[in-house]
């Protein structure tokens, strides 16, 4: 199972007829079970990249393939997790998690059984009947993770999933995500603007340049999980990555 991104570009045409090059050309290969963070200065197109992989946007040129099958449009082997407010507020936790199975026509009992399994995996047993507005931000993102996992995708696409959560809960969510990842061994593509988050989570960090986003550098993080944020070699990688990002955001700015 290999996710392959080949010569991908994306440009937008503005209303005044001008074209903006948003992304690429970009090539990337992600192997099965790998945890890859995509990091870049704001506006570099990292979210656009994820949305193209998830089939929500079309590339201007280039291809995405999974196990050498080209992917166009939303694909059952991928599930996307958004920043926030993505849960259906009229549905209970259980029915949110079961949504993807429901639209595939699974009978109620079956989809609830599977949903319960994933609710347990993200540590929310006992909250099946609650509505999203009764949960904290962190709990809601766990529901979103369970909902994505329930369709048993090969690849998880996460778009700054913890961006709107306060710092403490965020660290906890990162630890839990790693545990879930170790249990399920999904391939994860994780977009973030936090250097710390990327160094804490990723096997490899893909640093993008400013617009149009290309790959500036791929930084492998050789540390085993769980990682210790205060460990010198962790701090070292963090400092290195931060320097790359800072460099990228400062180029071309009038200072």
């Amino acid at each position: 199972m290999k996710l392959r991104i080949t010569d991908l570009t994306k440009s937008f045409t503005l209303e005044d007829g001008n074209t903006i090059e948003a992304l690429g050309p970009l090539n990337l290969e992600v192997s099965d079970g790998e945890f890859v963070c995509i990091l870049g200065p704001s506006g570099c197109g990292k979210t656009t990249l994820l949305r193209i992989i998830g089939g929500l946007e079309r590339p201007t040129s280039g291809t995405i393939s999974l196990n050498s099958a080209t992917i166009e449009g939303p694909n059952p082997s991928m599930a996307m997790i958004f920043q926030e407010y993505s849960l259906f507020p009229w549905r209970s936790v259980l029915d949110n998690v079961a949504f993807g199975l429901e639209v595939r026509g699974l009978p109620k009992e079956e989809r609830h059984r599977i949903a319960r399994k994933y609710i347990e995996l993200v540590g929310l047993s006992g909250f099946e009947a609650n509505k999203p507005y009764e949960l904290s931000g962190g709990m809601r993102q766990r529901v979103a993770v369970a909902r994505a996992l329930a369709i048993e995708p090969k690849v998880l696409l996460m778009d700054e999933p913890f961006g709107a959560i306060d710092a403490q809960a965020r660290n906890k969510m990162q630890r839990e995500l790693l545990q879930i990842w170790e249990k399920t061994r999904k391939t994860v593509l994780f977009v973030t603007h936090s250097v710390d988050e990327a160094v804490y989570l990723a096997d490899r960090i893909v640093i993008l340049t400013r617009r149009p986003g290309r790959i500036k550098e791929i930084v492998p993080v050789p540390h085993h999980h769980p990682r210790e944020r205060t460990e010198p070699s962790f701090v070292e990688i963090r400092r290195y990555v931060l320097r790359q990002i800072t460099e990228e955001s400062e180029i071309g700015t009038p200072h």
Partner: protein, 253 residues
């Protein structure tokens, strides 16, 4: 305590009324409260040969229900289509904005010309009254459905049809419901006015107009009270439904 404050002003009005009625002492201008209550207390008795209060209220409710149903059956699907497809909305917008301010009763002559005197005309006029609030709120409701909800659904493998039934409809439902409530309110006002037109021989509007011909002001006012009470009752039902089914909308953060 707060629940009681609402009743103070009606009580004062009634007291003032009674005093004025005694002073004026002319039932054709201001009947005594007792004579109105008398009519209200016997809602199943025939009034002036037009049938009882209950019978006429039931006829009005039936008519408004019919017109409202037609308005909802046409307004909601049209609203969904227009909320979903921008080009359709742009295509129709000017026409709607021009038709909307025309009061339902201005359609009466046309209704009579097209459908003759009778049920169809009345239902048509009620339809006009209820249609626009339902349509416009449905459009707004569909537009208010968060893009993220739809994208989540799409990435989870939702078909276009399921997207409609599982995301757009439930997401838009609270605002559509508001449209139904507003639409019913206007429809209720419209039915009473429509029943005052020539050719009708039942309904609360007909009853109070007919009572006017006989100078039965107490019957007129009793009829108005019933019109008001039914309006309140139906509005309460809608509000209760909103609380029970769409509580998530106000609670969502």
């Amino acid at each position: 305590m707060k629940r009681w404050t609402g009743i103070v002003v009606p009580l004062m009005i009634m007291a003032g009324w009674e005093v004025a009625a005694i002073l004026i002492s002319n039932p054709f201008i201001l009947p005594r409260l007792g004579t109105i209550v008398e009519v209200l207390m016997r809602p199943a008795d025939d009034l002036l040969g037009t049938g009882s209060l209950l019978y006429n209220a039931w006829r009005s409710v039936q008519r408004v229900g019919l017109g409202f149903l037609v308005a909802a059956l046409i307004g909601i699907p049209c609203g969904i289509a227009m909320g979903r497809y921008r080009w359709l909305n742009q295509l129709m917008d000017t026409t709607l904005q021009a038709l909307r301010p025309i009061p339902p009763l201005a359609w009466v002559p046309l209704a009579l010309a097209w459908f003759r005197i009778g049920l169809t005309s009345i239902v048509f006029i009620i339809f006009i009254g209820a249609f626009f609030p339902i349509l416009i709120n449905t459009i707004d409701g569909v537009k208010s459905v968060k893009k993220t909800w739809m994208e989540v659904a799409l990435t989870l493998g939702t078909s276009e049809f399921r997207l409609l039934t599982k995301v757009i409809l439930p997401g838009a439902a609270p605002i559509v419901w508001t449209g139904l409530r507003l639409g019913f309110g206007i429809a209720w006002m419209t039915v009473v006015a429509a029943e005052m037109l020539p050719g009708t021989i039942s309904g609360l509007g007909y009853l109070i107009m007919y009572a006017y011909n006989f100078g039965q002001v107490n019957v007129i006012i009793a009829g108005m009270v019933v019109i008001g009470l039914i309006g309140i009752a139906i509005d309460l039902i809608f509000k209760q439904g909103e609380k029970v089914w769409f509580g998530w909308r106000s609670l969502e953060r």
